[in-house]
Each structure stands twice: as structure tokens, then as C-alpha cells.
């Protein structure tokens, strides 16, 4: 090839060609040189190569610079493509490594994305109402007894509504259930009574039709109803002309005026009908607290403004009704943002789970980083050669990062599939009635999250190995013999790897301890004595309509007769009824006084109170509740004989110690008759399973002389010989024979109710335990990786030692010692971190402290054992080293 003489413009081309991507360089240079040469010769031919001609030539050759610059994007594109190609080749060449890394990443990113989509929908996204942050719940409080979130009575509501100025609007509602008849089988549908302005507080209108007119809240004009989207689509068969038609609720015709949007879920997502009412028209007193109240703050008004104002409103009430408030000194009001009200309970479990999946992702990162570090060490020579050939450190890091990002993105894609599947599972099960679960979906923000998570993951696990292996001075391996090289570099790498293994172990310890605490809590919950026998008991709720059963006699007579009929059903052993069944959480409470001890006061100076239940005579036998002393109720207890009460063990113990309350009497009010205590029964978990036993009283379900009962809504409890669900049809027939319009609601076995009571703990335990199991596996793999690498690095050394007479135990000490110290440091760090972190979840635990030493020690031992196990294989390999082979080992 012709060698051009060096002229200024050719110098320039030669220099500029350095920035041209290598792929184009020679062609580029040749083209420019030819052009300039030709130009020069043309100019010379025309004898014009004077200063002007020269400068023109130079100017033109400067155009080459622009040309070269224009080729730069091609260079980047080129190298990236090269990196990607090379990266995928490397991943394919080691399918085992790739598979392990991908699985770890997919699980980590998938679990993260799934939980984040729930966190996003439930905790982060605002409620679907306009200016939803201004919507609040108003509760009464009674701090002297430590009571918060008490319902509100009608006179209080009226006062709040008329006096408070910080609220734009304020409304009351009352969840209930109504019997829907006329559309096939009688059905009991969840309903909510709502006062005027309910919809304007929420800023929501029906999807079809209209909301109630103001006059429709007045008694007499209130035969209207708004139905849910679900009821419309379901029981009402999507009737397109539903608006304006009537449906039969609790024996009354009501005209449908509106259909709510499907996502509307206030007061809860199961409500099917909303019916109007005016609280004042329900002539109830200050002492009857049953209303739920929501309000919308004025624009610009703060929660504190509202709290201050409400405090003075309550003070006004106390002046207005001094008689009532002398016993209720200390009553107050609390205002809670609606969002807090809806998701407050679920925040902690969700955040704990989110923390757990973040830990899993970090552990997965650590694992993959470890694998990459090990591989990077194996690739030292390759990298050294590339750097020696002129690759910059940036270029090498970029190459390695491209590989790890490729891995992370592949992992992210598989993780996303897992997440979609997981979210579907999660929303379908909705294990402990997480509110707003319907809003959970994999949408753009979630995809963005998954992408970000994958990207960050790739950088996190890729950066350290990339920087590590591209450290300057790595041409050492080229100079030295390969053995020395591997050891020298291995030492540097092993410090990073040790750190990675330590953090991986520490993270696993935290997860394992969290899971361990949940498992122990769950076992404690299962071991709780419920106080009744759950096996073979069916429950169902009945609610008699006021229209058909206007007076107490008819209600009592109905239940009396029904229980007799059900007892006669084949397979039924016993039948009873109660107004508030065990584990239902709802029961009335009443203050009482003890004869001869009227000055008896609780430590807080208030009169003693107890929860009460209204039961049929056979209730205790049916439920298998033990009578510890005295007798059951009979049909005679109630009006006919002297009024009687049965109390629970806790109440008896509190006031009579270990004595039986023989001949003792209590009364609920000064003007009420004394009640003879005729029996003491074992404590029953009537409220939540986690709650301590509290004082409780049982009264006959007939009309009592103190104004409680008989309740129109009762829960039937039926003990059967075999599977309780097989008797449902027969029981339903008995009910229909007595009242064809009476639906059987909430048909469940007691065993299922008991299982549901622990479902929240079971669910958190299950998820945490699965995650912890995963962490354990990943940690074991991590330890195994470090261990087997260390053995393979020291094969030569082990060989020499053996040749010099080292015993197996010396070899074991040599190879295991280092790794075990890492394990111990990791476990120690994890235990310390757990001490700080598990406190967060103490409210999720049951009968176990967050720093429970048994769990901490047990988990540490478990992890230690697993780490030892992970060492076994590499140690066996070390012991099998033959000195001669090892000395030849390169």
C-alpha cells in the first residue's frame, strides 16, 4: 500500500482517526487520505497550491473531525452490542450458574414486586374519593377506662353535627343486615343505614340513578334504597330498568333510586344496600352508643383544629346533660383520618412483609454477587489480557456490569411473571380481609418498580465484583505463574466475598428470627383454650323482622319453638342460641353492682362492668362450655322465676376469690331487680382469641326485667353427630316451615370460625416462614460457595501439608476454621440486628416477647448447623486430596 508522505493535513487525519471506532478506522482513514491526496494533486496540477490552497486543504481535512464525531454513537452502540453478545455468551456457557442466579433473582424481584403492588394499592394510593385526605372518622373516647374508638349516641351526633364548624359536612351510618325477599330465596344482605350528607362527605354519587333527596331521609318518605353494583349484577340479575322498581327489604317495599359504582366500599366492601335514616327520629338516649360518624373537614382546617373544636363541643354537652356526664366524666372525642381508619391495622403486617421481601432480595443479590466474584476470579486472566491489550478500566467494568444487568433484567422478567401469579393468589385468597384488595393490580407503576428493582439489583450485585476484578495491577497474573496469580488475586477477592457472606448470613438470621417468632406465636394461639368445643358445631344467624315479630313474646316464642324443632332433626344432638357467639367480637357491656358491696369500685374509681350475652337454656351444653359451679338456665328462668344470672370464672374470681358466689346477687341499675347468681362457667373467648379473659355475665334470652332482650337477631348453634354442614338443609327446612321469608345467614361451622380467628397470624407466619426458608437455602448456598472456593484455592497447600504429615483434623481445622468464623460473625450481626428489628413486630406476636431468647438461640443454632452442613462436601473434598495430585495441581 502506498505510504503517503507526512504532510500537515495527513498528520491531522492520522490523529483524528484515533477517535474513530476501530471497526471503521482503516477505511475511514484511507478514504480521507485518498480524498486529500487527490485534492492536493489537483490543486498542484493547477499550480494553485499557494497559502490559500494549503489553508483550504487544511480546512477540508478539519471536516474529517466532524465526520469522526458523527461516527461516535456507532461506537457506543457497537460496544454495547458487543458487551451484550459477549455477556449472553458468558451466561449461556455456564448454564448452572445462570440458572441458580436467575432463580434467586426471580424469587427476590418477584416477591418484592408482588408485595409492593399490595403495599402500593393498600397503603400508598389515596382513597378513591375527591380530596380524600379531608375525610375523617369521629369516635368517642373514654380514656378513664382506656377506651378509644367508641360509637356515638344520637344526641351526641346531633350536637356534633350542629355545633362543629371545622367540618364541611358530617354524617352518621349504621351497618346492619336486611332480609331481601321476592328475588328467589330469601337472602340476608349486608346493609348500611346512612344519614343525610353521607354521600357528600365522601364526594361520591351513584353510578346510575341518583342519591337520596333530603326529604327522603324523613320517616314516612324514606321507602327508597340505593343498591350496590354487585347486588345489581347478582341477585337482581342486571335488570337494566332497575331504577324506579321496588325491592322488598325486611318486609317493606323500597324503591331503588340509585346503583353505586362497583368500587364503592364504605362502610365496608360487602355492603349491598344503603337505606336513608334520620338519627333524631330514633328516640334513643345519650347512653346508647351505636352510630358511626364520618365527616369532611373544611378546606384548610387541620385535624388539630377539629380536635380542639370537638373538645369544646363535648364540654358543652356535659353542661347540657349534667346527669349523664357526672358518671361519664372523661368522655372525649377522637378524630382519625379515614385512610388511617381503613388501613391502620394492616400497615404493620404489610410493612413487615415488605421488609422481609426486601431482605430476600438483598440476600439474593449477595448470593449472585458471590457467584460473580467467584467467577470473576476465574476470569482474572481474561480480564488482565483485555486490559493489557488496551481496554480501559471503564470498559471492563462496563462489560461486567452489562453482564450483571442482563442477568438482573432476565431475573426481573421471570420475577414479574411470579409476581403476577403471586398477586392473583393473594387477591383471590385475601387471607385476612385486607381492605382495598380489589385495587391491587400489576399496572404501570408496578412495572416501573420491577424495572427499577431489577436495575438496582443488577448494579448492587454487579458493581463490587466488576470493580474488584478490574483493579489496576492485574497484569500481575500474566507475569507470574498461574498458581501464584490465582492466590494473590484470590486473597483480595476473598475479603469482599467474606463480607458478602457475612451480610447474607446476618440478613437470613433476621428473617429466620422473625419467622420463628411468628411460628411460636401461632403455636401459642393454637394452644389457646377457647373455653368451648369447636368440633361438630354449626352456627347460623337469624334476624326476625320487626314487621312480623313486633313484640317480645313473639320473638321468644319463635326461638323457643325453632330450637325445639331443630333438636328433633335426625343427627342433631343439641341446639341453642346466643345473641353474640364466641370469637364474634360483638357483645354488649353493662356496669353492675353487687348486693352488699354497692360501694365496690374498680381501681379507677368506676363501677365494675362486664360483657353480657343472652342465651337459650341449652346454649352451654351445645357449645360444650363447662359449668364449674351451680346450674344451667331452664325454661323457667326469666320472667316466671326470680331473675337469674350466670357469670364466668374471671368475674367470680375477681369478686369472690376462690369462694363460690352462693346466694350472691347483682343488679344492672338502681331501679332494676336483683339477679340471683345461679352458676359459674368457664371463661370463653367471646371476643378475639388474643384477648385476655374478662368479666362476663349470661342472661336468659327471654324478656328480662332490666330491659335487655329478647334480641331479634340471634345466632343458632347446633351440635351434630357427624359433619355439621350435612345438617344445613334439614335445619333450613325447619326454619322455612316456621317462616318462609327468614333467611339463614352466615352459615359456618365453629371450627371454621376458630380457624379464621388465627388466619391473620397463620398468614403472616406462612409468608415469613416461606421467605425465611428461602433465605436459609440461599445462605447455605452462599456458605457452600465460599467454602468450596476456599478449598479449591488451597488444594496445593493442603497437599503439601498432607505430604508433611498433617492429620485429617488439622486439615478440617484449616479449611473450616476461616468459614466458621465468618458464620459466627454473620450470626452475631444478625442477632444484634434482630434485637433492634423484631421489636417493630411485637404487636403481631402472641404470648411471646420480641426478644424471646429461645427463638434467638434456636435460630442461631439452626443456622450454624446448616452452615456446617454446607461445609461438609467441600471438607470431604479437602480430605480426599492426594498429596501427589495436589502438588501437580496447577
Amino acid at each position: 500500500m502506498h505510504k503517503p508522505k507526512l504532510k500537515p493535513h495527513l498528520w491531522l487525519i492520522a490523529t483524528i482517526s484515533l477517535v474513530v471506532p476501530r471497526r471503521f478506522r482503516s477505511g475511514w482513514r484511507q478514504e480521507w487520505e485518498a480524498e486529500l491526496h487527490y485534492h492536493e494533486s489537483t490543486l498542484r496540477r493547477w499550480r494553485k497550491l499557494n497559502i490559500l490552497g494549503q489553508s483550504r486543504l487544511l480546512r477540508r481535512s478539519l471536516g474529517a473531525f466532524h465526520d469522526a464525531l458523527c461516527l461516535q454513537p456507532a461506537r457506543l452502540e457497537d460496544e454495547m452490542l458487543q458487551d451484550l453478545k459477549y455477556g449472553s455468551r458468558m451466561l449461556l456457557r455456564r448454564p448452572g450458574f445462570t440458572l441458580v442466579a436467575l432463580t434467586a433473582l426471580a424469587l427476590g424481584i418477584g416477591a418484592n414486586t408482588a408485595i409492593f403492588s399490595v403495599v402500593n394499592a393498600v397503603l400508598l394510593r389515596p382513597l378513591p374519593f375527591s380530596d380524600s385526605e379531608r375525610i375523617v372518622r369521629i369516635w368517642n373516647t373514654f380514656l378513664p377506662r382506656g377506651l378509644t374508638q367508641l360509637f356515638i349516641s344520637v344526641p351526641e351526633f346531633v350536637e356534633y353535627r350542629d355545633q362543629a364548624r371545622t367540618f364541611d359536612s358530617i354524617a352518621a351510618f349504621l351497618p346492619d343486615a336486611l332480609n331481601l325477599t321476592g328475588a328467589g330465596e330469601p337472602e340476608r344482605v349486608p346493609a348500611s343505614w346512612i344519614s343525610q350528607r353521607f354521600f357528600s362527605v365522601l364526594g361520591v354519587e351513584p353510578q346510575l340513578g341518583r342519591s337520596f333527596y333530603p326529604e327522603e331521609y324523613q320517616p314516612g318518605r324514606d321507602r327508597v334504597v340505593i343498591v350496590s353494583h354487585r347486588l345489581w349484577k347478582g341477585l337482581l340479575a342486571s335488570d337494566p330498568a332497575l331504577i324506579g322498581k321496588t325491592i322488598m327489604l325486611n318486609g317493606n317495599d323500597r324503591t331503588v333510586v340509585g346503583i353505586m359504582p362497583s368500587a364503592f366500599d364504605v362502610p365496608s366492601e360487602d355492603i349491598d344496600v344503603w337505606v336513608p335514616f334520620t338519627p333524631e327520629s330514633w328516640k334513643t338516649g345519650l347512653g346508647q352508643h351505636f352510630l358511626s360518624v364520618i365527616a369532611r373537614l373544611q378546606p384548610g382546617a387541620s385535624l388539630d383544629n377539629a380536635r380542639t373544636e370537638m373538645t369544646s363541643v363535648v364540654a358543652g354537652l356535659a353542661q347540657k346533660y349534667p346527669d349523664y356526664y357526672k358518671d361519664a366524666a372523661g368522655s372525649g372525642v377522637d378524630i382519625v383520618p379515614l385512610r388511617e381508619q381503613v388501613v391502620g391495622n394492616i400497615r404493620l403486617p404489610l410493612l413487615v412483609l415488605f421488609g422481609a421481601v426486601c431482605f430476600i432480595l438483598l440476600i439474593a443479590c449477595a448470593n449472585v454477587a458471590n457467584l460473580l466474584l467467584a467467577r470473576a476470579e476465574a476470569r482474572h486472566k481474561e480480564i488482565a489480557i483485555r486490559m493489557a491489550l488496551g481496554a480501559s478500566r471503564l470498559r471492563v467494568v462496563r462489560q461486567l456490569l452489562t453482564e450483571s444487568l442482563l442477568l438482573a433484567l432476565l431475573g426481573g422478567c421471570s420475577g414479574l411473571l411470579l409476581a403476577v401469579w403471586g398477586v392473583r393468589l393473594f387477591t383471590a385468597q385475601n387471607p385476612f380481609n385486607i381492605p382495598r384488595m380489589r385495587a391491587v393490580s400489576i399496572d404501570m407503576p408496578i412495572l416501573g418498580f420491577a424495572l427499577m428493582a431489577s436495575f438496582l439489583t443488577g448494579v448492587v450485585f454487579g458493581l463490587a465484583p466488576a470493580l474488584q476484578s478490574s483493579k489496576p495491577g492485574l497484569n500481575e497474573p500474566l507475569k507470574e505463574g498461574s498458581r501464584g496469580a490465582a492466590q494473590g488475586a484470590g486473597y483480595r477477592g476473598s475479603r469482599t466475598r467474606s463480607l458478602v457472606v457475612i451480610s447474607e448470613l446476618a440478613l437470613s438470621v433476621v428473617l429466620l428470627i422473625g419467622a420463628g417468632l411468628m411460628i411460636r406465636s401461632f403455636r401459642h394461639l393454637l394452644g389457646v383454650n377457647l373455653g368451648f368445643n369447636t368440633e361438630g358445631v354449626l352456627t347460623a344467624q337469624l334476624s326476625l323482622s320487626k314487621a312480623k315479630y313486633p313484640d317480645n313474646q313473639r320473638v321468644t316464642a319463635f326461638y323457643h319453638q325453632l330450637l325445639q324443632r331443630i333438636s328433633g332433626v335426625p343427627g342433631v344432638q343439641a341446639a341453642g342460641a346466643v345473641n353474640s357467639p364466641p370469637l364474634s367480637g360483638d357483645s354488649g357491656t353493662a356496669s353492675f353492682e353487687i348486693e352488699g358491696r354497692t360501694s365496690e369500685r374498680e381501681s379507677d374509681g368506676l363501677s365494675p362492668i362486664a360483657a353480657y350475652h343472652l342465651i337459650s337454656p341449652d346454649y352451654f351444653q351445645t357449645m360444650g362450655i363447662t359449668v364449674l359451679w351451680g346450674r344451667h338456665f331452664t325454661e323457667l328462668d326469666g320472667n316466671q322465676s326470680p331473675a337469674a344470672a350466670i357469670i364466668n370464672q374471671t368475674l367470680a374470681h375477681r369478686f369472690w376469690g376462690n369462694d363460690y358466689p352462693t346466694g350472691k346477687r347483682i343488679r344492672l341499675r338502681e331501679d332494676a331487680p336483683w339477679l340471683q347468681i345461679i352458676g359459674v362457667v368457664a371463661d370463653v373467648k367471646n371476643r378475639a382469641i388474643e384477648d385476655d379473659a374478662r368479666p362476663e355475665m349470661y342472661f336468659p334470652y327471654v324478656e328480662t326485667p332490666f330491659g335487655i332482650g329478647p334480641p331479634s337477631t340471634m345466632t343458632l348453634v347446633v351440635r351434630t353427630q357427624s359433619d355439621p354442614l350435612q345438617s344445613v338443609a334439614a335445619i333450613r327446612d325447619e326454619i322455612r316451615a316456621m317462616d318462609k321469608d327468614l333467611p339463614m345467614d352466615r352459615v359456618r361451622t365453629m371450627a371454621r370460625i376458630a380457624a379464621a380467628a388465627v388466619s391473620r397470624t397463620r398468614f403472616i407466619m406462612f409468608l415469613l416462614a416461606s421467605l425465611a426458608g428461602l433465605a436459609l437455602i440461599l445462605a447455605a448456598v452462599g456458605v457452600y460457595g465460599v467454602m468450596s472456593y476456599s478449598v479449591s484455592q488451597r488444594t496445593h497447600e493442603i497437599g503439601i501439608r498432607k505430604a508433611l504429615g498433617a492429620q485429617p483434623q488439622d486439615i478440617i481445622r484449616l479449611v473450616v476454621g476461616h468459614v466458621l468464623s465468618l458464620v459466627l460473625i454473620g450470626i452475631g450481626a444478625g442477632v444484634l440486628a434482630s434485637l433492634a428489628l423484631t421489636r417493630v413486630m411485637s404487636s403481631l406476636l402472641f404470648e411471646i416477647r420480641a426478644n424471646d431468647p429461645v427463638t434467638f438461640v434456636g435460630i442461631s443454632l439452626l443456622l450454624f448447623a446448616v452452615a456446617l452442613l454446607a461445609c461438609c462436601l467441600p471438607v470431604r473434598r479437602a480430605l480426599k486430596v492426594f498429596p501427589m495430585v495436589a502438588l501437580r495441581y496447577e
Binding site: 478514504e31 487520505e33 477540508r60 471536516g63
Partner: protein, 109 residues
Amino acid sequence: MTTRTSLSHSAAVILQAVSNGYRYGFDIMDVTGLPSGSVYPALRRMEQSGLIDSKWEKQGLAQEEGRPPRKYYEVTPTGVDALAEALKRYRLIERILPARKIKPSRQRG
């Protein structure tokens, strides 16, 4: 080809120049008056999108003249179509650019 409608004016001028027989960079610069900074990148873009093709001059020929072999560009069929399309928009181009009269007989080598 996607570039057919997006030919810029200067690209069309250059394409026309190539089609008129001005087959290497400096020649094109001379006839169009465009600076080398526009001509070369445009040539590379058009080559990438298949409007023009390039060939190296035969080695022997260049050696004879004691210079490095030159790179010649020529319009592909796609380029012909694109040029026709572009000329509908830039009607003056055809009139401004003269066709090359003397084709150096040896350039094909």
C-alpha cells in the same frame, strides 16, 4: 425504505450529485459547495440506509498513480426512488446541479 420521505435538502442535493456522477467526497463538496462536515456524515447515513453504495478503487490503478485507492459512491435503486421522491419537493435541485460531463475513464478501474 424509511428514509425516503425524510431526506433533508442537503441530503437530496448530495444524492443528486452522486447520481449526476460526482462520486467521491471532495468532488461532491466542490460541486455542491457544502462543507465536508455535512457531506461525509450525510454520505455515511445514506449508505447505512441503503440509498447509496460504495466501492473501493482497484489497488493497481491507485498504485500506478502513486496514491491511496479512493472510495467511490453510487446510487442504489432504492436511492433512485428516494431521489425521485425528494425532487418532487425540492424542484430546484435538478436545475442547479450540472450533470458531470467528463467521466474519468479510468475510475472504474
